[in-house]
């Protein structure tokens, strides 16, 4: 029985992610944060997230990570399924 030969295609370009910095600010360190932030970035303009939203963001990213890993495993599964194994394997 002849099998249909499906070529395994190349993987996409790897992710190149930039580091991101989070500041945890409360009423006690707000002044210090303003000083440090302005010294580092020049202007006092920032995006604020509540702890709840930060948690949600972390959980969302964790779910995306889960999906990405599972998708990758499924692709590997199909690649292995369509790849012919060598008839005789060398003994380890």
């Amino acid at each position: 029985m002849e099998k249909v030969q499906i070529p395994v295609v190349a993987q996409p370009k790897p992710l190149q992610l930039n580091d991101t910095r989070v500041f945890v600010v409360n009423k006690d360190n707000y002044e210090e944060f303003v000083k440090e932030f302005t010294a580092t970035y020049g202007e006092l303009a920032f995006v604020a997230l509540s702890m709840k939203d930060y948690q949600n963001l972390a959980l969302n990213i964790a779910d995306i990570k889960r999906y990405l890993e599972q998708q990758k495993e499924i692709i590997l599964y199909y690649e292995k399924a369509v790849t012919e194994e060598p008839k005789e394997k060398e003994d380890d």
Binding site: Q11, N26, K65, Y77
Partner: protein
Amino acid sequence: MIKLYGIIILVAVLGGVGYGAKYYYDTTQNTIAQLRENNAQLEVAVDTAQNSVETLQGDMKKLATLNKGLQEDLQKAEAYGDELRQKLSKLDLVVEALKNSKSLEGKMNGATANLWRDFMGDTGGNAERPLPNWLLESKARTDSQDSNQSGESSDTSGSTTEATPTE
């Protein structure tokens, strides 16, 4: 004269029998040849069918093994999210932020940096990229602060290289 007729009839009968025997022999030989040819074709067909069955059985075995591995890998991929949810449910980030904002900040930044590196590693990129200076400085500051604050405690959960944003 009767004798002559008898001989002619006998010869005719013998000829008929001989012809019949020859006809039977030829027909049988042809049938045998046809059957031999059919048998050879059937043997080829049986071999092909046998090979197909073996190929299918091999494929089924291979797919069953692959499927088992896939289910395990899919389950493993759930681990990070489950662990994170578990940790977040145990922690109150607002309380942590009010208690020690720098420590929490270090943990969040460290975990985020590790997460980005995990993503890069998972997609074939460089998972070993050095941490940024601001993170290393922040980690050093937090570590020294932690050791000064709690000499009795050897808790190392303040490490900025933990794998979740909160731990």
